[in-house]
Amino acid sequence: MSGRRVRAITRRLLQGFRRDRRTVALLFVAPIVILGLLGYLMRGSTSAPAVGIANQDSGPLGALVADTLRHSTRISTSDISATDGDAKLRDGSLVAYILFPSNFSQQAQSGSVAPEVHLEGSQPGEDSPVIQALQQSMISLASQVAGRSIRFEPSVKYLYGGASYDTLDYFGAAFVGLIVFFLVFVITIVSFLNERSQGTLERLMASPLRRGEIVLGYMLGFTVLALVQAAEVLVFALAVLRIQNHGNVFLIFGMEALMAIAAVNLGIFLSMFARSEFQAVQFIPLVIVPQVLLSGIIFPVSTEPTALQYVSDVLPLTYAVNGMRDIMVKGADLSWSALQLDAAVVAGFCILLIAAGTTTLRRRLG
């Protein structure tokens, strides 16, 4: 073991960084950006889930409980009529609504209440504050009906998902698409960089190949690869992990294909801005991490601080993830306008990225 030789290696490494300002910047900027984003996301999002209250109780007790619920800090309530409830869950303006049946007061007198809790159900985390708030409000009920203990037996109904729907189902739908997007992006950016560093790109440029042909050829090659991968991921997710799926498998596949195309072209485009594989790999924290945090995979976009919602709205992954969830969790098909929008936006990003990749291809040669 020679100290001098070890030092030579260390010095050589640091010398490389001295010229590679970008890597140094990334090394010190990226952690702050990522952690800051995470902190802002988690602390900044305080919005309580929106819950509707439909009171049909002919007696006084329903109103009493409803009033307690209105003061709960866990949820933010609004009064609705029972007939609007499901529509409001579907359009996303409510996470849940609570319905007090017309005989609610009588139920209380007989010692067992069964308010109906209707949950949107596609986001597993959002159920519990609703149930908790309702449970707490029952305490006020107990003081009204003196001398009796009242059993609380809510009947819970899910619009989507269901009682067996769990976190994996929620994340699974998003991750099936994300995995494909991520891996295809990395493979493309690295192989395009190889093309540059091994000199073959120069040869291609001196051949009759058009830039568009290069981009399209790459796109087809990697999309084929991505689709095989997508099929495997899908089979594993559905057959082995038994992630719930209420949608058409071919629609999922189509959405994954769109994501793969977007990823390939993002890779080609960004490879123009990297001089080495090393720099290419740096795009992962810069491009992928914020997208994972902001595209609604983990934190629903609606609960983000408003400033970040604007960012989320321009990320392709936001729409892709939303589309995947609509298909798998809600059973959306192409007649749903929400899915049409998601698919159209992702397709639009693909076209944009193809154009961007093609126009930047010439750069860096001269």
Binding site: Q198, G199, T200, R203, A206, S207
Partner: protein
């Protein structure tokens, strides 16, 4: 006038940032000629070749190839370019590489002939990353000429090639030239320079001298081409 020349480089300058790599270079290459670009490292040989095939754009002056002003995509199918470093796909076989470059030029029928010429037909199934350096160079040459281009740009094609094969390469180059192909070959090796019909001596991005090997000898005042070259280079420097 320009019709007589396959390649016409007129008063071309090219800078990289503040650095002037080429400074008013004019050279004309006739059809069916083997033109040798000679010059020390960093003289600008590769830069000239990249300008000729349109990879770079001149800041001043014009480059005309086969009657068309470069850069021009239409001419590219008639150009074969062998890059200085063997630019190949390392993970696929020799034949797959040659077939790829044939396909993008629309000339897949030439694959076997090209492989036989560089004597890699028996090794056609080998993955490129397992080849020796000289074999890679040969594979790279095969990729450049597989579509029988009218203009062949060879950037130091014989570096790392053994003497026997080098002789065969030059025989082949001459045969191609006799059939009307124009070749521009860069080199540092003087005995190769002697095999060219005309030479351009490049130094510090300028054309020092141009002419047949005999012309260069008389201009440099020496029967030895290398000495003549050094004499010409030294004269300009002082």
């Amino acid at each position: 006038m320009s019709d007589a020349f396959a390649v016409n480089v007129e008063d071309v300058s090219k800078s990289f940032g503040a650095f002037k790599a080429l400074n008013g270079v004019t050279l004309r290459v006739r059809q069916g000629e083997i033109y040798g670009l000679l010059g020390p490292n960093g003289a600008g040989k590769t830069t000239i070749i990249r300008l000729v095939c349109g990879l770079l754009e001149a800041h001043a002056g014009t480059v005309t190839v086969l009657g068309r002003r470069m850069p021009n995509v239409g001419v590219l199918r008639h150009i074969g370019y062998m890059t200085q470093q063997a630019a190949l796909y390392p993970a696929i076989s020799v034949e797959e590489n040659v077939r790829f470059f044939a396909a993008i030029n629309g000339a897949e029928e030439g694959v076997r002939e090209a492989l036989e010429l560089v004597q890699l037909y028996d090794r056609r199934g080998s993955v490129v990353s397992t080849l020796s350096g000289g074999m890679r160079q040969r594979c790279s040459l095969a990729c450049a000429l597989v579509h029988r281009p009218e203009l062949l740009l060879l950037d130091e094609p014989t570096v790392g090639i053994d003497p026997q094969l080098r002789v065969q390469f030059w025989d082949y180059f001459r045969r191609m030239a006799a059939q009307g192909t124009t070749l521009i070959v860069s080199s540092h090796v003087m005995d190769e320079a002697d095999r060219c019909q005309r030479l351009g001596l490049i130094q510090y991005g300028r054309l020092l001298a141009e002419g047949s090997p005999a012309d260069i000898r008389s201009q440099g005042g020496s029967q030895n081409l290398e000495e003549a070259f050094l004499a010409l280079a030294g004269r300009k420097e002082s």
